[in-house]
């Protein structure tokens, strides 16, 4: 009791340092930054020449860029207490559609590359709309809807291509975006990822749209009673995720110079793991884009570090697994503490739209 009083008093003092700094320091992301830095120090000690090289850092950020873009969208979804398993397949679908359209137009040149970008974004948005509509209006749990569309988006991509990857990617796109640098050794891809992360961060943390995203994840039924158009908001959140996957699909065309039909079966889980490691709670209402960026840099840094240190890269999966479970454990402890101090469960438990105890539309907890 006294402890919570003191905590509250501290909060009141801390009240003055509100805003960005405060939300960053409060987040689990801060601890995660320390983990990332610690890893970097460790790998530097083990093999300073290799790890501290420009080449090494360049590989890390290039490898993380597309995941970070997907992670931005998934953060919105998980903040609403939803889940999106379809992103990897939507990425494939968007890249296939984009490659097909660019091929039919003649493949080369900036104009065609631009058309390809629009096609990829629209293809992603379409799947986001389908996901959002089914979750919000048909009331099917997000886990099931996106599991379904995960299969559908990949299946349709395979039907269209016969399962054979497409290689018609405009050279300008590959040269400038795939391998190009904006200046010096700063990859274009990383700059695009940074821009999207910043835009996503502004949208989530500074606008009404972001606020409603948190409100939904915090208390869906209260949001509805307050007059927020919950269905509309949910649909838009899944569209954001779909668009991010679409952009990811386009950029992966640029990076790999081909579609990667068979190469994205675990992309969804890798991204969700990074988002969760970054402090976004599967129970909704909590999460930051900053945390997501760090959470997605960790697996990539680990892999790179292991390779450099001569450790088998397979260990990366093991360590990421430990981090993932650890992150959710910490979130659970924090939620339990919050519940104890307020003496009441703040809301029914919900993971990925699979609500335990009561369902979304009839969550009148009295």
């Amino acid at each position: 009791m006294t402890a919570t009083r003191e905590a509250q008093a501290e909060e009141i003092v801390a009240d003055n340092n509100r805003g960005v700094i405060r939300s960053i320091t409060r987040a689990q992301a801060t601890q995660i930054v320390l983990v990332l830095l610690g890893m970097m120090v460790l790998f530097t000690i083990i093999n300073p020449d290799a790890f501290l090289s420009v080449f090494n850092f360049r590989s890390i950020i290039v490898n993380a860029s597309i995941f970070i873009i997907l992670g931005v969208g998934v953060t919105f979804v998980i903040v609403t207490a939803g889940i999106d398993l379809s992103i990897g397949s939507v990425l494939v679908f968007a890249s296939v559609m984009s490659a097909l359209v660019m091929e039919s137009l003649g493949t080369e040149g900036w104009a065609i590359a631009a058309v390809g970008a629009v096609v990829a974004v629209l293809a992603g948005a379409l799947w986001g709309l389908i996901n959002g509509f089914l979750i919000a209006k048909a009331n099917v749990p997000a886990f099931i809807v996106t599991l379904g569309t995960m299969g559908m988006a990949l299946g349709i991509s395979q039907v269209i291509t016969g399962g054979i990857d497409l290689y018609n990617v405009p050279e300008v796109l590959v040269d400038t975006v795939g391998f190009g640098d904006i200046v010096w050794q700063i990859p274009t891809l990383a700059v695009i990822a940074l821009v999207i992360a910043v835009l996503g961060g502004i949208l989530l943390h500074k606008t009404k749209f972001g606020l409603y995203t948190y409100a939904l994840g915090s208390n869906m039924e209260a949001s509805r009673r307050i007059g927020i158009r919950v269905d509309k908001q949910l649909i838009w959140v899944y569209i954001v995720s779909g668009v991010c996957a679409g952009i990811g699909g386009y950029l992966s065309l640029a990076l790999y110079q081909q579609t990667t039909i068979a190469g994205n079966s675990l992309t969804n889980l890798a991204v969700i793991a990074g988002v969760v490691i970054g402090g976004t709670s599967l129970f909704g209402g909590v999460g930051t884009i900053f945390g997501t960026v760090i959470g997605l840099l960790i697996p990539v840094t680990l892999r790179q570090g292991f390779v450099i240190s001569g450790v088998q890269a397979f260990w990366q999966e093991v360590v990421v697994g430990i981090f993932l479970i650890g992150a959710v454990y910490i979130d659970g402890v924090r939620r339990a503490r919050a519940r104890r101090s307020s003496g009441k469960n703040p809301k029914p438990m919900a993971i990925g739209g699979l609500t335990i105890g009561s369902t979304r539309k009839e969550g009148n907890s009295e």
Binding site: Q8, E11, D15, K208, A222, R224, G285, V286, S342, P346
Partner: protein
């Protein structure tokens, strides 16, 4: 009848509910229930646990659907098809479960769904005038004498009474015709309870119709102008608070009065 500024007639109830029926599976929560809200009056809505009070309020605030019955607002039939309908009519509600977002701070909760946009282009993109909302919220809480001091702590980290204060302040800030309060004092300390009761009177004096649910008869008799009693999903009695007594109210709630009459 004379006409008031807003075109309604004097003596006309703000809201009339007639013959409301609502069932939950086997349970008949409301069984042809009537209810009236008068402007500038505090109506206490009382009844035993499970009498249907919360259900009635949810229906009148558009958050729950009714199966049968009619609602008239200022003399016109209305369909409370969604919470926004009630909101647009100037009806606000403090729900029994408070309907707050635990991860958001009191300012966010107070303004949820009514955020003030920044002026100019930033506002078009959904940027909010946080400074203004913060100042206004601060006033709203001060007005209530509420012990909500930390305006950027998530509501979920607050005490039960503080949460209740946030919910009451929210409803009182936005209501301009009717405010429903479903057990708003249940978690409050003595001082805070008195603050809410004072607020209720202030809101009433602005001409707003206040509906107040409580299980505390002294509170009811202290603040209400009228008392409407619900039993098993029906309104069984209406009293002027000045002319009634604790015994009479308890009798009406439990049905003892009827049995005596029979």
């Amino acid at each position: 009848m004379d006409a008031r500024d807003d075109g309604s007639e004097i003596g006309m109830p703000l809201l009339e509910a007639r013959g409301i029926v609502r069932t939950y599976g086997q349970v008949v929560a409301l069984d042809g229930c009537d209810f009236d809200v008068e402007p500038g009056e505090v109506t206490a809505l009382i009844g035993d646990n499970g009498a249907g009070k919360s259900t009635l309020i949810k229906i009148m605030s558009g958050t729950e659907e009714m199966e049968e019955g009619q609602i008239r607002f200022m003399g016109e039939d209305v369909t409370m098809s969604s919470p926004s309908v009630a909101r647009d009519l100037g009806i606000e509600t403090v729900f029994q479960d408070l309907a707050l977002c635990p991860h958001l701070d009191p300012v966010r909760n107070l303004y949820l769904g009514r955020e003030v946009r920044k002026r100019g282009p930033l506002g078009w993109f959904g940027f909010m005038d946080n400074k203004m909302m913060r100042e206004k919220s601060s006033d709203a809480f001060a007005d209530l004498g509420a012990t909500v001091r930390a305006l950027s702590v998530p509501v979920g980290d607050m005490s039960g009474g503080q949460k209740q204060s946030v919910a009451v302040a929210r409803a009182a800030s936005w209501a301009n015709k009717i405010i429903f309060l479903d057990e708003p004092t249940a978690a409050l300390g003595v001082v805070q309870t008195q603050n809410v009761l004072d607020l209720i009177k202030r809101v009433r004096d602005k001409g707003i119709g206040v509906v107040f649910i409580s299980h505390s008869m002294p509170e009811v008799l202290g603040v209400a102008d009228r008392v409407q009693v619900l039993r098993r999903g029906r309104r069984v009695a209406t009293y002027q608070a000045a002319d009634t007594s604790l015994e009479e109210l308890v009798g009406a709630m439990t049905g003892a009065l009827d049995e005596e009459a029979v």
